[in-house]
């Protein structure tokens, strides 16, 4: 069954590339997403058998991320179908500079979306580290064309930076994986297979200096893909120039998959007793990411870039959570879910705002609540959620991390964490509130009524975020606890 999870989107992608009819292609996209989500939910009830001699298997962490990815993809697909329908009808003139541009072929966009899903699923279910690496690189290659959907120079620049920086980072991660093999080899020269399970059980035999070097390289490599500062430079460009559907998936699903690479390394580190070293590194990079995000969100005039920097901030929070250990890890894994849902919703809403107001400058947007009732409300909801106020989901997870920091006596970390969260909330609230309130300009038209999905999908995600803030289902809590257990 696991193999199906990968083969179905991949083959759908190949088929979608050749389908001529738009309607058929969109039906293919939707049905693949539905089937994928159904299969993912089924794995919660019936544990799937490992495939490829154990290379593909779902452990707790993998299952969480895989299901999250499928659900987000489903939401994005419903939105995408309406979005693509709208994009078809318009002539495209650039909002910022006024030139005319064209879009990429819808067939290639759809095909890349499906390949992207297949690659992300492969990352989540891969238990062999080298295969995980191949999958992460595949996600980079599948998502670069998505960024270049609107064919103009800014998105091309963003796509090029993304492609090059992430590929270089991933190459360093490969070196890290090779170092890991050296660290894990037995003194007689035979090597332990690169499976997470084997490495964990042999972890006490690990050659410490080699493992530390390996961890650093893996953190740098996968951290580049994940958006940790100071390797995040591609993130604001890529996430702001891509169409909102792609941004939602990139921020919501892809960053988690990159984080999974770091988490696998952390699993081994914890099993080998070297957690003190890896925790420190994670804390440093996490706090630096939050700081950089705070610095760049203040005074940010482009609201999509603001959301992108917010992603950097939340990746920092995730790293801090895992670095603290103990209960904070539970909070971090919960935060993966909360952030993904919230950020996806925010990017989809931003897409609506962009379509209606035809500008990316937050100063020029006002009165969203009156023009776009649903999206306007969701924008405010998203703002409060992403900056961590109750009663939304991210509050719970961020609070868990903070509490664990105080419990562990990491007062300095807790103070910096709290300060940066406050700074970011202040910096984001001002422009975002101004965007929602006030009176809209005269030229602004509402969203077309036929594109219902454009409002409904983010609304559903928003409800999910609210629910996660009030009530975490026990099955989810169990799964989170199981996942957090191996991570310390």
């Amino acid at each position: 069954m696991i193999v199906l999870l990968i083969v179905i989107p991949a083959s759908a992608g190949i088929v979608a590339f050749f389908v001529e009819s738009d309607r058929l292609r969109r039906i293919l996209l939707l049905s693949t997403a539905i089937v994928q989500t159904a299969l993912s939910l089924a794995t919660w009830m019936v544990s799937p058998a490992p495939a490829l001699t154990g290379w593909l298997a779902e452990d707790a962490l993998g299952r969480l991320i895989e299901t999250l990815t499928s659900i987000l993809f489903l939401a994005a697909c419903f939105y995408a179908v309406a979005y693509l329908r709208e994009e078809r009808r318009q002539t495209h003139s650039d909002f910022e500079e006024g030139f005319l541009f064209s879009n990429a072929r819808e067939a290639s966009f759809t095909a890349c979306l499906l390949f992207f899903l297949a690659a992300m699923t492969l990352v989540a279910v891969s238990q062999q580290l080298a295969l995980l690496w191949v999958a992460v690189e595949a996600t980079t290659l599948a998502s670069a064309p998505l960024i270049y959907f609107h064919r103009h120079h800014r998105s091309l620049e963003a796509a090029w930076k993304y492609l090059l920086i992430c590929s270089v980072g991933i190459a360093l991660a490969l070196l890290g994986i090779f170092f890991l093999v050296v660290a894990a080899s037995n003194p007689d020269g035979s090597s332990v297979p690169l499976m997470v399970q084997n490495l964990r059980s042999n972890a006490h035999h690990l050659n410490a200096p080699w493992f530390k070097a390996a961890f650093v390289l893996l953190l740098v490599g996968f951290g580049t893909k994940m958006g940790l500062a100071p390797f995040h430079t591609w993130l604001p460009d890529a996430h702001s120039e891509a169409p909102s559907v792609a941004s939602a998936l990139l921020s919501g699903a892809l960053l988690n998959c990159a984080f999974l690479g770091i988490l696998r390394a952390q699993e081994i580190s914890v099993a080998g007793g070297l957690a003190a070293f890896s925790d420190k590194l994670l804390l440093v990079f996490g706090l630096v990411s939050m700081g950089v995000a705070a610095a760049f969100i203040s005074g940010q005039t482009d609201y999509k870039r603001m959301l992108a920097y917010s992603s950097v901030e939340h990746m920092g929070i995730l790293a801090v959570g895992v670095g603290l250990g103990g209960a904070a890890v539970f909070g971090a894994v919960l935060h993966v879910i909360n952030h993904a849902l919230t950020k996806a919703m925010l990017f989809l809403v931003a897409g609506n705002l962009l379509a209606v107001y035809r500008t990316k400058n937050s100063a020029e947007v006002s009165g969203a609540l009156s023009v776009l009732p649903v999206s306007g409300v969701l924008w405010l909801v998203g703002l409060f959620a992403i900056t961590g106020s109750p009663p939304f989901g991210p509050f719970l997870s961020e609070f868990t991390i903070l509490k664990a920091a105080l419990d562990h006596g990491q007062i300095f970390v807790a103070i910096v964490y709290l300060t940066l969260l406050a700074v970011i909330m202040a910096a984001m609230a001002a422009p975002a509130l101004a965007m929602a309130q006030g009176t809209p300009g005269a030229h602004v038209a509402a969203l077309p009524a036929r594109a219902l999905a454009l409002s409904v999908v983010p609304a559903i995600l928003g409800i999910a975020v609210l629910v996660m803030g009030i009530y975490v289902p026990p099955v989810l809590t169990r799964a989170l606890r199981e996942a957090a257990h191996v991570l310390g």
Binding site: L156, V168, L174, F178, S240
Partner: protein, 217 residues
């Protein structure tokens, strides 16, 4: 056998210097091509005479892809981008050669410090691998043209792959094929991107791509 390995490694280091000091794009692409072939030969000679079908076939296909197919793609990209064939680096060639010499020194020192057990056959294996990766990173950081950044990325991957050969890694065939496929598709996609960049901007100088920069406020 060890003499063959040493000679291959010295040639690998020389291609690194060739990459750093050539002023012509085609010379740089050829340097990467030679690197690809050398790595394939290295992988075969590291097997110490115990040649299996997989053991020969895979390095051979890797050498073919990295030595002929990828350079062909890059030459095509160069021709279609219709770019000036000179490199125009951000630091002078002399400085690049000196940086390469410094990288060589660092790699030799690192190779000395990182003790592998069992000891690799040649003391030059690990330093040559590190050197190739460092050269790749120097090229990415100090060259303007998008095409040379792709070459730097390939050199980085070659260095990592050489390190894998150095520690006599026995990765499963599926994984090795996956890595090769990734590199191939990566370069393919980058080549297409370069073509689009040249069409959009009339040049492929990446340091002129600064429309999206952020200023700290």
């Amino acid at each position: 056998m060890i003499q063959l390995i040493n000679s291959i490694l010295v040639l690998l280091v020389l291609t690194g210097f060739m990459l750093l000091s050539s002023s012509r794009l085609s010379a740089c692409i050829r340097a990467i091509a030679i690197q690809g072939v050398l790595l394939g030969v290295l992988a075969i000679s590291m097997q110490d005479g115990q040649l299996s079908a997989a053991g020969v076939l895979f390095p051979l296909s890797s050498a073919v892809v990295k030595g002929f197919v990828l350079p062909w793609l890059l030459f095509r990209a160069m021709r279609e981008a219709d770019t000036v064939r000179e490199i125009e680096p951000l630091i002078s060639y002399n400085l690049s050669i000196i940086a390469g010499a410094a990288a060589l020194g660092v790699s030799l020192w690192l190779g000395h410090r990182l003790q592998l057990s069992p000891q690799p056959r040649s003391s030059l294996l690990v330093p040559a691998a590190f050197f190739t990766s460092l050269v790749g990173m120097i090229v990415i950081a100090s060259r303007r043209k998008a095409l040379t950044q792709v070459l730097g990325y390939l050199a980085l991957e070659n260095g990592v792959y050489a390190f894998g050969s150095a520690v006599a890694l026995r990765l499963p065939i599926l994984v090795e094929l996956g890595i090769l496929l990734d590199v191939f598709v990566g370069v393919f996609v980058m080549g297409i991107a370069i073509f689009h960049i040249s069409r959009e901007f009339d040049h492929i100088d990446t340091d002129k791509l600064e429309a999206l920069a952020d200023r700290l406020s």
